[in-house]
């Protein structure tokens, strides 16, 4: 195979023309190193978020209030494990190995979504996470399904189909509580009070604080900015929450008939960055849980490898 060569202006222009024409970039195609680097960063963070995202809800599986709810939650958490695998696969097509990425997570060198460092305190939180956190994730993932990099786009298309189940089961639970007894309504409201702002924050810093965004948009990695995706999320969820009689914990939230959008008040970015830096309520616990799972799985990996080696030797 001919050497596809270094980054000349012509090559970069040809690459950008392909993206402008709506072509997908596939493994083996030429790409600027910065494109590859940004994709590895984004996809691996996304994969880690799916994997760490199993922990808050996984803790509620034994305490589900009915067999139906237990089956649903098991299936949802299993889906998140699968999402992590689809995404590690997509990252591996860019020349990194899943082992390196997981090592970075376990050693605390990798980022994952800040929202999973908050504790789900009641069963109503499980519903609210499905409705809001998965709801916010879907908005982001629908955008990323248009990504110019083929493997990432395909993982997103598959994930979005499964996330819609996560979103709907959560919404169904919250609606049940919101229309239930006074105590259930209070639980739903309490859950909303704690999950509303983390859900807005998980869509990332404002565009003015996202220096990578213009290049990511030009290269079709992202097709919308953080603020655009957050606006879509608020426009869908704020009116529905109000409709069921819940109060969104934002005194400045209002609908502007002039532009047709729901406008939210200022986000507490100090809190966001503190959680990203590792000072959230559960950062240490989340990493500890992942490390423990990795260690407790060691004997399984060793047994499988020994079995394969013996089978190979006697084949």
């Amino acid at each position: 195979m001919a050497d596809l060569g270094a980054e000349s202006p012509e090559r970069l222009a040809a690459f950008e023309a392909r993206i402008a024409a709506g072509e997908k970039i596939e493994p083996g195609d030429w790409m600027p190193e910065a494109y590859r680097h940004q994709l590895v960063r984004m996809i691996s963070q996304h994969a880690h978020s799916e994997v760490v995202g199993m922990l808050p809800e996984g803790a509620w599986i034994p305490r589900a209030p009915s067999l139906r709810r237990k089956l649903i939650l098991l299936a949802k958490v299993q889906d998140e494990a699968g999402h992590g695998q689809y995404l590690y696969h997509a990252a591996e097509t860019l020349g990194v190995h899943r082992d390196e990425l997981i090592a970075a997570l376990l050693e605390g060198r990798a980022k994952y979504s800040s929202v999973f460092n908050y504790p789900p305190l009641t069963w109503a939180d499980v519903g609210m996470i499905g409705w809001l956190v998965d709801g916010a994730a879907i908005k982001n993932q629908v955008m990323l399904a248009q990504c110019s990099y083929g493997p990432y786009s395909r993982a997103m298309v598959r994930i979005c189909a499964e996330e819609t189940f996560h979103h709907k089961q959560g919404k169904e639970m919250v609606l049940t509580y919101a229309r239930g007894t006074a105590h259930q309504r209070a639980m739903a409201q309490d859950a909303l009070d704690r999950w509303w702002w983390p859900s807005l924050m998980m869509l990332g810093p404002h565009d003015s604080d996202s220096p990578n965004t213009p290049q990511l948009v030009r290269w079709g990695v992202k097709t919308k900015t953080n603020d655009q995706v957050r606006q879509e999320f608020v426009d869908e969820h704020a009116p529905e929450l109000l409709e069921v009689g819940l109060e969104v914990p934002d005194p400045e939230l209002r609908f502007d008939p002039a532009d047709g959008h729901w406008h939210h008040g200022p986000i507490d970015w100090d809190e966001f960055w503190a959680v990203v830096r590792g000072d959230g309520p559960l950062n240490a616990e989340r990493l500890e849980a992942r490390r423990r799972a990795f260690e407790e799985g060691r004997w399984v990996r060793e047994a499988i490898a020994a079995h394969a080696a013996r089978r190979e030797a006697t084949a």
């Binding site: 001919a2 899943r98 189909a161 047709g260």
Partner: protein, 187 residues
């Protein structure tokens, strides 16, 4: 079953996974798993890629057995790529499975199985595939020696793939529209 060389890893080498949605449809590349051997890879593939209906068969192949070439790489290789010895050491003719991607449309899968060729090496197989399967034009080719491909066992098909059909609570359609009422927003 053949050996699965690859870089040493706690989770074993990488295997590409191909899923068939229904009888008569092609197997399609859906992603990869890490596994110690082909049997393990098929079990992993089932857990990761067949948690929903629309699966009747899975294939796995070690990732390092796949020759993957995009249209851009083919064009860049030019005449060099057409040279008989390109990348191949001549061997006994063997069967290769041919997979192709031919659209930039948004999709959930990558290359589709389109057929088989017999050749002395993967590059010779690619050249044969380009002749045998000219339409529609390929954006990417995968060439995989058929002896390196392992299939999910037919006698397991019901046990592996039927349960996903019964678990209707995993389908978003099971929840209908749960919108509280009509949206307030206009247009």
């Amino acid at each position: 079953m053949s050996a699965a060389p690859g870089r040493p890893s706690g989770d074993g080498p990488r295997w590409e996974v191909f899923k068939q949605d229904a009888a008569g449809k092609p197997h399609q590349a859906v992603g990869s798993v890490h596994a110690a051997d082909a049997e393990h890879a098929l079990l992993m593939a089932r857990s990761v890629h067949a948690r929903r209906p629309a699966a009747v068969s899975l294939w796995v192949a070690p990732a390092d057995a796949v020759l993957s070439v995009t249209a851009e790489q083919l064009a860049a290789a030019g005449d060099e790529g057409a040279a008989p010895a390109h990348g191949d050491t001549e061997g006994a003719p063997q069967r290769y499975l041919v997979f192709r991607k031919s659209s930039h449309r948004r999709a959930i899968t990558f290359v589709d199985h389109v057929g088989e060729v017999t050749a002395v090496g993967p590059w010779a197989a690619l050249r044969a595939a380009i002749v045998a399967f000219p339409e529609p034009p390929a954006l990417a080719w995968w060439i995989v020696p058929s002896e390196r491909v392992s299939a999910s066992p037919d006698y397991e098909a019901a046990a592996w793939f039927e349960p996903a059909r019964a678990k209707t609570y995993k389908q978003q359609s099971a929840y209908g529209t749960t919108a509280p009422t009509r949206r307030r927003r206009q247009g």
